[in-house]
Symmetry: C2
Subunit: 418 residues, 2 copies
């Protein structure tokens, strides 16, 4: 992608009401635009990041048997009346709307009711189980306050997966498998070492749910972390009893702030019983299905990564999610320079490497500042001094030093397994 | 994908209120589930079709310089008050909702206001123009009636692109380029020969807009078509004056029903003037930008293709959008048959061919009926009689005859350029 053709530009200022670091960085770099609190437009480079995160999540869900679907945002009132979740006193962040004929509808904040009724159409026998339908879809939550940038959206992209099992035992196997898939996701996103499974409140069908909490002072949660055992307890359930349950002792725990980047929840029959979602087991006996739900906020992850990976010059994207692997900074408009830079752009693109090409008529300082602000993992310079040599000046965004490399070394460096 | 693991099943019945042929076919085959009139869930195979269509549209928009973004569904009231479109008497298919604090919001039915204000952040000079931001995003329209299946959704997937130009001349060049891109899209979707550009009402800034109308008795529009000239007039503007304008004569025109599968519209300064969206031209004079908008209903296209490509046995997907290129029907559970079918599945998948593998324990007739219902372009049979021979029985969904082919011939046939 040539920057001369990209409509976004980097910005020096952000809206005065934007106090979250992640959103400030993303707005300055032209990755998102703020529409209102908790509602953002994803611009071309930002959408690439969002899609990269979605694809990693998708691949890991598919590996454990996830089947991708797409459910609607518009939700039928009657289903939520059935489960007791229509009332605004029960669910306080509903967005509601109406059909022309006056019938009330909700905008989906989560899809348990939807997916449970869907499964009534398709599941007949224990042989169909377990199954793991999931979607990557836009959720709506009418948050009273939304001041954490992309980390607390009123409209946001979420991966929500649901499991249906014939027995508690089968459910527990699935739950553990998905838990492992979540760790894979965070590892690939380069936040694995900062992300800890955290016991949180469980509800009526299980003692605990599990959150995945990424350490950050910008987080909205407080957790008590045992760094050696790599597990934590959310403050909301932090009691002696819970510590005992988990084999943790107060002296080993550290109070830290963290961002909830995922949660998994055993739902028992909470959403299957009201819809009489049952199938015959091996003995032919009808069993109400055991459900689980498994969420990952895709846009929240983008905010989290922006929050964690930056320095005073701007964003520093991990390679797996960066909008491009490398940015070519062309210095000057000399025909020989242009020819050399054009060729490099074409060659790298031809190798299926995602490349940004700064072919704009700007000063060197501005180009380097933009390359830093955008956070592209590698920067290569093509200027007058490179025309007659085979050497190119390569710099890693996360390093301060540059090194001279041949074209082959350049390709090998940026194509290395990440 | 193994059918034994897929949670959807084909169905013999559809909801009694589902009268549209496209939705009936898609529901029976397990591609979509009806949530309410005009609102569908896309199931695993249906989502594949939807994504295939999206990707074709995306590629063609990118070829003409489209830059993909993602705008939100939640819309600020104030912008629509500015353009006069907030009033339900002006726009009668709004879904509206409210923030917790009582502020009214709309759900986007189209994004002219949104994209015009967005561009104020980024456009400074005629050098930035023309630009073509677009999104593939979920739209909400509060239709009074929604009886055409996927062809008239209350919640649906749409590609909406917007152009910004410095002059009418530049706008016209862009408009023509996008028009050509639309023809490419329909050609790749195999509906090119049935799709005609059609003059329709233009609004205050241009005499006509242009629709792309695909001939079908299920269409909601009536058009007057000159088959030789390959252009048409929508009934809503069918007058002597319009015929004169277009050089058409009544005797050459045929009255036909058609489905609107796209529209392109010159907006003039209708949405740029209210927001004072202007930049300096080459003489340094501030010019209010000329806008165009370009819509394609992605889910409507899926409905249109389903409506057009079927026979009495079910769907007959064009290869470019089919959820898989080929379906392997394994007959029986004999270990040698299983081994041979498993190997074929693995080999084809390894060649990046999208394959469905019917490894279920069902009778031959049921498998063949499902393969037909699903509409997969090629069906290959692996049964007892194939174990000791190198020949495989291949059938094209759109043909009635089968032929015996070697593995190499099979691969060549289904990998041919489509």
């Amino acid at each position: 992608m040539r920057l001369s053709g990209l409509f976004t530009k980097t910005r020096k200022t952000v809206p005065s009401d934007e106090t979250a670091k992640n959103a400030q960085l993303l707005i300055k770099a032209g990755f998102v635009n703020k529409e209102m609190a908790g509602v953002y437009t994803f611009l071309p480079l930002g959408l690439r990041v969002l899609n990269n995160i979605s694809n990693i999540v998708r691949e890991e869900m598919n590996k454990v048997g996830g089947q991708e679907i797409l459910m609607p945002a518009l939700q039928l009132k009657e289903r939520y009346v059935t489960t007791g979740r229509w009332d605004d006193k029960v669910v306080d962040d509903w967005f509601k709307t109406k059909l022309v004929n006056g019938a009330e509808l909700g905008l989906g904040f989560s899809h348990e009711e939807n997916v449970a009724t869907l499964m009534k159409e398709y599941l007949n026998s224990y042989r169909d189980l377990p199954i793991l339908p999931y979607q990557i879809q836009t959720k709506f939550r009418n948050e009273l306050r939304s001041k954490s940038g992309l980390m607390r959206g009123r409209e946001f992209l979420m991966k929500d997966m649901y499991s249906f099992s014939i027995s508690q035992k089968q459910h527990e196997e699935v739950y553990e498998k998905v838990q492992n898939a979540y760790f894979e996701v965070y590892k690939r996103l380069d936040i694995g070492d900062k992300t800890f499974i955290t016991s949180a409140s469980g509800g009526s069908f299980s003692k605990y749910s599990h959150e995945f909490q990424t350490l950050s002072d910008a987080g909205e949660d407080t957790i008590y972390l045992d760094r050696k055992k790599k597990i934590a307890i959310n403050k909301e359930v932090f009691t002696d009893e819970v510590m005992d349950d988990l084999g943790l002792v107060r002296e080993e725990l550290e109070e830290v702030r963290a961002i909830e980047v995922g949660n998994i929840f055993s739902l028992g029959t909470k959403f299957s019983a009201p819809f009489a979602l049952k199938v015959a087991d091996e003995e032919g006996k009808a069993q109400t299905l055991i459900m689980g739900c498994y969420g990952i906020g895709i846009s929240r992850l983008m905010g989290t990564i922006a929050e964690l990976f930056s320095d005073e010059h701007g964003l520093v994207w991990p390679e797996a999610v960066a909008p491009a692997k490398i940015i070519i900074c062309r210095l000057g408009e000399d025909p020989a320079v242009v020819e050399k830079a054009d060729k490099l752009f074409k060659d790298l693109t031809g190798k299926d490497i995602a490349v940004l090409y700064d072919d704009r008529d700007l000063r060197t300082g501005e180009k380097f500042a933009d390359a830093d602000l955008l956070g592209i993992p590698y920067r290569v310079v093509v200027g007058q001094q490179n025309v007659d040599t085979q050497q190119l000046e390569l710099k890693q965004r996360s390093h301060t030093t540059t090194k001279l490399v041949s074209y082959t070394e350049l390709v090998n460096t940026i194509q290395k397994e990440t």
